[in-house]
């Protein structure tokens, strides 16, 4: 099947990328480090030595990977279409007996497979190691599995975002610039500012029923407008012990609409909508 051929090529081309290998190693190292750090704080509390339980480990992993995974996705994908369009290899690819959709879906699958490999190797294997060392139970294993699955969904969302950017821009240079801009917006200071405003919005509940909030209620939906936030929200609402931004707000103060279903739906939308956009752009533009 041609779609699989495109995916395979995309995977093979990228999996040898030195950056991908480096980031996977960093993922793995972070997982182990995260466990050790969490352990250090627990040691202070109850005297146990070694690797921490999976819950606290996941929290530290999430904090560290919060900007790593999007970077990896963007690094892998920015050239997927823009690079081929600029070099001219896209023309030859489009001249093969393929549907346009075969090309876009194939590229998505190939990129996601690379990202998935890094996630599973880094977080999955690292997590299993931590579980083994800390004497994890079946429930802990389930927690890890859920975490990895949710992280894969998050990776899928970023795969769609990066493919969209690559379809939008015509050159590698502008695609890089657009990717860096996107990363700055969603993964760093800019978004933290948005989150800060959201926290202010939720303060109303803490200040008591009689008072109105500092910011309008609808601000809470912004948590669905960032794949990172949607992922964090999903993890916070499905994995006990995982805090994310809940730590700032408090579980009891979370708005009613911050439910696993809605975060899950938001993350699904982040997979589907940018992918559809990438396909529409690809279909419309010349090779």
């Amino acid at each position: 099947m041609s779609l699989v051929t495109v995916a395979k090529k995309e995977y093979l081309e990228n999996v040898r990328n030195a950056w991908v290998i480096a980031v996977t190693v960093v993922f793995l190292a972070l997982t182990l480090l995260a466990s050790a750090f969490s352990a250090a704080s627990e040691t202070a509390a109850n005297g146990a030595v070694g690797f921490a339980k999976i819950g606290p480990t996941l929290n530290v992993m999430d904090t560290l990977s919060g900007f790593m995974l999007p970077i990896l996705a963007l690094m892998l994908g920015f050239g997927a279409i823009a690079g081929e369009r600029e070099s001219g290899s896209l023309g030859l690819l489009m001249a093969q007996p393929l549907r346009r959709s075969d090309i876009v879906i194939g590229k998505w699958l190939g990129l996601f497979a690379v990202l998935g490999t890094a996630t599973i190797l880094g977080f999955g294997l690292g997590g299993l190691f931590v579980l083994a060392r800390s004497g994890g139970t079946g429930a802990d294993f389930g927690t890890l599995l859920l975490f990895v699955l949710e992280t894969l969904a998050w990776g899928a969302a970023w795969t769609s975002v990066t493919l969209f950017l690559s379809a939008w821009f015509d050159r590698r240079g502008t695609a890089i610039a657009g990717s860096i801009g996107t990363w700055f917006f969603f993964s760093t200071l800019v978004w933290n500012l948005v989150v800060f405003l959201v926290i202010l919005a939720t303060l109303r509940d803490r200040l008591g029923s009689g008072r109105s909030g500092l910011l309008p209620n609808w601000m809470i939906v912004t948590q669905w407008l960032n794949p990172n936030a949607a992922y964090e929200g999903l993890a916070s609402t499905t994995i006990s012990g995982f805090s994310g931004f809940v730590a700032f707000i408090g579980r009891s103060a979370m708005p009613d609409v911050w439910k696993a279903e809605w975060f899950g739906l938001a993350l699904a939308a982040w997979i589907v909508v940018p992918f559809w956009g990438a396909y529409a752009l690809f279909h419309r533009k010349d090779a």
């Binding site: 051929t5 081309e13 023309g91 030859l92 093969q96 007996p97 393929l98 549907r99 010349d286």
Partner: protein, 319 residues
């Protein structure tokens, strides 16, 4: 040179395997392709001629559906390549003008990738490698290939799996003279087996040598579409043979002049310039030897492409 006359070609437009109708494509307000209608018949070699920047590449890209026309249509075996590329591109060998492959893949991996996309087995890719003489470099990364080797990969990709139609944008680009010859022989051989070939070139002699019919493009417009013989006759342009002789003499020049079809044979030092059709070159060489001449070198001088276009522009062609 060609058995297809113009009248036949026009009357059988409906049977064209490759066809464009009124294609228009503008970039930043400038029409790169301006109302281009071409028809390539099954089994013929169609040469697409024009100077660089005339719109040949854009036309071929529009024909393949790699770009969307602002107006007009393109059809491959009657199928719109934009609507159904998976059907339109089946059993089509395409060579684009700018060739770039995936730099980290080897030549073999590259060709296997395209073979898989075309639904061919891996052996077809290896056969194609051998066909263009790349076996030795097969496992080197394409990123390390020279311009000529890259062109060979491009040709191998287009030729593999015996496609029934070849659409080649400057097939001899970046190749050395020996490889030029091999490519031309290869295309002729494929054509004998029934393959329809549309190729572009800015080299008149190449088109003249290979093509049954020619489409000439200038500034995005088709200025002529006819058989090579008809075009030459209509423009009244003839090439010349230049023979370098070891023992040039007026007697030899005189003998050559007696050949039917030779317009003139003049001596310039040790060089004999014979104005005649290129097809007569063997007769000329034979007659020279018979007259006791020893040919050291022989080359053909074509009416340059520029001459042809100047002629066309002056309306002299529409005789």
């Amino acid at each position: 040179m060609s058995g297809i006359d113009d009248g036949f070609a026009r009357s059988s437009l409906v049977s064209a395997v490759l066809q464009t109708q009124g294609l228009v494509k503008a970039y930043r307000g400038v029409r790169a392709v301006d109302d281009v209608s071409l028809a390539v018949e099954k089994g013929e070699i169609f040469g697409f001629l024009g100077p660089n920047g005339a719109g040949k590449t854009t036309t071929l890209r529009l024909l393949m559906g790699l770009a969307r026309p602002d107006a007009g249509t393109a059809r491959i075996r009657g199928i719109d390549p934009l609507a159904a590329p998976q059907i339109a591109h089946d059993r089509i060998g395409f060579l684009p003008e700018t060739l770039n492959f995936y730099k980290t893949l080897s030549g073999r991996q590259t060709l296997r990738f395209y073979a898989e996309l075309k639904g061919l087995r891996a052996e077809h890719a290896d056969e194609a490698l051998a066909l263009v003489g790349l076996q030795q470099a097969a496992d080197k990364r394409v990123g390390e290939y020279s311009r000529g080797m890259t062109q060979r990969v491009g040709l191998a990709q287009a030729l593999m799996g015996e496609p029934e139609i070849l659409i080649l944008d400057e097939p001899t680009g970046g190749l050395d003279p020996l490889a030029h010859r091999q490519v031309k022989d290869l295309l002729r051989e494929r054509n004998r087996k029934g393959v329809t070939i549309l190729f572009s070139s800015h080299i008149l002699s190449e088109v003249e040598e290979l093509a049954h019919r020619v489409g000439m493009l200038r500034k995005g417009q088709v200025v002529a579409q006819d058989t090579v013989a008809n075009l030459r006759n209509r423009m009244g342009l003839r090439g010349a043979l230049v023979l370098t002789l070891q023992n040039a003499s007026p007697a030899i020049a005189y003998e050559v002049q007696q050949i039917h079809g030779v317009a003139s044979a003049t001596l310039q030092g040790d060089r004999l310039v014979v104005v005649c059709d290129n097809a007569l070159r063997f007769d000329v060489a034979k007659r020279v030897e018979e007259a006791g001449g020893r040919v050291v070198n022989m080359e053909t001088q074509e009416a340059s492409l520029e001459d042809v276009f100047v002629n066309l522009a002056q309306g002299g062609s529409v005789r």
